[in-house]
């Protein structure tokens, strides 16, 4: 051989060469070095804990009306004040957070899943490219609000009857947002897959005999992770904001049902007198979106071995 191996007793060699390490450990190591991502993760977890465990520690019903406290400022009884009907803002913030976060995360998940699936299929299989991309164009060309309106009109009753009013609306909104926001992901992913498909390592895998489905999971998907990650983090923000817009238009959750978007829109009328009522839901949405963006940034860096260790 051109480079002779150093002669070692096998037992020593065993000790020297660590077995292949789990790659997720490497990812975690790199993620930890990204300060912004770490802070983002803490903030996101903090918000998540606040909205899930918070209501147990602050057991005021967010729909309970204490008419004497209406429009009151921060006090011991209502740390964030009360709204125009005297409902406790802190309780409403926490209840709304649950819904907003759940809608944001699931709708983003659905949209990224759909977008990646369609993008990969269109990019990888030439025969599907035309039809799937025309479908994407079709969805991009659809006027969103009328479409959502029609969807809500058609399915609200049926879903409410089947899953209960709140769960029904939740499913409807998540599906509606997911179905109308996957197109950009699909386009970006398709472009990347088209470029990746011509790379030599894909050809090498083909010469090994790797079938298409494993080719996609092993070679294509890990390499399109960065754009998917970016659109996922942006997607959470868009989903939360779209949900607020839908609630505002009366197409989302019922008016007395708090979400961050709904709180924000309710408070907009009183922004001159009680600016803090706009401030809290706005801050919550911004912090969530910002922290998710940082987490996404850190994850993208951590998942790319070429950036790792810098």
């Amino acid at each position: 051989m051109t480079e002779p191996m150093p002669a070692q007793p096998p037992s020593m060699a065993e000790e020297l060469h660590k077995p292949p390490r789990n790659q997720w450990l490497d990812v975690w190591d790199q993620f930890r070095t990204h300060k912004g991502a770490l802070v983002g993760a803490f903030v996101f977890l903090g918000i998540l804990l606040a909205v899930t465990i918070g209501p147990l520690l602050w057991p005021i019903d967010p729909t309970y009306i204490d008419i004497r406290a209406r429009n009151s400022g921060p006090s011991l009884a209502h740390p964030l004040g009360a709204d125009q009907l005297g409902r406790d803002m802190l309780a409403r913030m926490m209840a709304g957070g649950q819904v907003s976060m759940a809608v944001g995360v699931t709708a983003m998940g659905l949209s990224v899943l759909l977008g990646t699936l369609i993008g990969v299929l269109a990019g990888y299989f030439r025969r599907l490219d035309g039809p799937l991309m025309r479908l994407t164009d079709l969805f991009l060309a659809l006027p969103l609000l009328p479409l959502l309106l029609v969807m809500v009109m058609l399915f609200r009753e049926a879903l409410s009857a089947r899953f209960g009013p709140e769960m029904g609306i939740f499913i409807l909104i998540v599906v509606a947002i997911g179905l109308t926001s996957w197109m950009h992901t699909a386009r970006i992913v398709r472009g990347d897959v088209l470029a990746l498909k011509e790379r030599e390592f894909v050809l090498a895998a083909r010469s090994i005999g790797t079938p298409s489905r494993r080719m996609i999971t092993r070679h294509i998907l890990p390499n399109v992770l960065s754009p998917v990650m970016v659109s996922a983090t942006l997607g959470i923000a868009t989903a939360i904001i779209t949900e607020s817009a839908l609630s505002f238009l009366g197409l989302g959750f019922p008016p007395d049902f708090p979400t961050w978007g709904r709180l924000l829109y309710d408070a907009v009328n009183y922004v001159q007198q009680y600016p803090s009522r706009v401030f809290w839901p706005g801050l919550a949405i911004s912090l969530t979106v910002l922290s998710v963006n940082y987490i996404g940034d850190g994850l993208r860096d951590a998942l790319d071995p070429r950036i790792r260790g810098r």
Binding site: M1, T2, L16, P20, F201, G209, T210, N223, P305
Partner: protein, 353 residues
């Protein structure tokens, strides 16, 4: 030419045409004849060098042998089995026998996989080894190509070009193939590293009884490694013979020109030799010239070359040339062609043979 050699690869009439789409409706307006009627055999255990200038279809030919492209026409047999029209399932079963080493070691390794996963991929696909056995095999392969075992957890970008090419070679030999297409494996490497990699390929050939198709444009390297050499020009094999014959007495004018372009290390000799310098560019493979493909640039072009495409003829045992100059029946054919043309056309054609 050898005593009853066993033919491992038999290629006959191989054609790969890529469609050109154009116009408003993206209709098919033509085709690039990347490989246009190539036939050769590769004997078990030998190294067939495939040389030619850029864009002559060498790589396409090599990839077609592994059925990475669909054939337009022709047949490829490996070990007697026809794979020219085999479906995916059949191909997958044959794949372990034939592997490839790629030109660009950076591009041929997935940047998101560790070395052990890259080398382990063929094992994942074609064997049912347990975790430990697979790792043992990966280490064995890394030893065979001279990679330190402690590199197993690293990623491709952490290696130098030569090391990356070793990874590519380890992946190619993982399944104990009998045939490896080396697609310019040294073109992207430094000269000192080229020697290492070529020596490694030779060592492996000896150790594992490998048969190579060695694609290269480096004539000196091909002279070093190949047993027989095929010269390609514009999708055709113009000359195919043993290495020694090709380098001492090339017959095809293109081979002569190609060989005269190899730099001569001795300056006093370098000034003495007469270089054949070809004029013009390679014609487009989408629109090859009529008659002989080389007729537009050939220094010894004849009238017939523009009319009739020369067929590959065995002019000496094991020495195939596709050139009218070396066709013993040239005068008969020339007069036949001329007579035919005269019959077709009223006005007499010029004859210069």
């Amino acid at each position: 030419m050898f005593d009853a050699p066993r033919k491992l690869i038999e290629v006959s009439g191989l054609k790969i045409h890529f469609p050109i789409h154009g116009g408003f409706l993206r209709r098919r307006v033509g085709q690039v004849k990347a490989v246009d009627g190539v036939s050769f055999d590769i004997v078990e255990g030998e190294t067939l060098g495939l040389v030619g200038e850029s864009g002559c279809g060498k790589s396409t030919c090599g990839r077609a042998l592994l059925r990475l492209y669909d054939l337009t026409e022709g047949s490829i047999r490996i070990d007697g089995k026809e794979i020219g029209d085999a479906d995916h399932a059949t191909l997958r079963r044959i794949r372990p026998k034939m592997q490839m080493v790629f030109q660009d070691p950076q591009a041929s390794l997935n940047p998101r996989m560790t070395l052990s996963r890259i080398i382990g991929e063929p094992l994942d696909e074609h064997t049912n080894l347990g975790r430990k056995e697979k790792l043992a095999r990966i280490y064995e392969l890394m030893d065979a190509v001279g990679l330190n075992r402690s590199f197993a957890n690293r990623y491709p970008h952490e290696f130098s070009g030569g090391q990356r090419q070793r990874i590519g070679i380890a992946r190619a030999i993982a399944l104990n193939p009998s045939f490896i297409v080396c697609d310019e494996p040294i073109a992207a490497l430094d000269v000192s590293i080229q020697a290492q990699v070529v020596n490694l390929l030779e060592d492996l050939q000896e150790k594992f009884d490998l048969t190579y198709l060695f694609i290269s444009h480096d004539l000196s390297m091909v002279r070093h490694i190949a047993d027989r050499v095929a010269v390609m020009y514009l999708g055709r094999v113009v000359e195919l013979t043993t290495r020694d014959r090709l380098y001492t007495q090339p017959l095809h004018p293109y081979t002569e020109a190609l060989l005269s372009s190899v730099p001569e290390p001795d300056p006093s000799l370098a000034t003495l030799r007469d270089r054949v310098i070809l004029q013009g560019d390679v014609p487009s493979p989408a629109n090859p010239p009529r008659g002989c493909n080389f007729s537009t640039r050939c220094p010894r072009v004849m009238d017939i070359c523009h009319r009739l495409d020369p067929q590959s003829k065995e002019v000496a045992p094991g020495h195939f040339v596709a050139c009218h100059l070396h066709d013993p029946r040239i005068n008969e054919i020339a007069s036949e062609v001329a007579a035919e043309q005269e019959a077709h056309q009223e006005h007499p054609t010029r004859r210069e043979t």
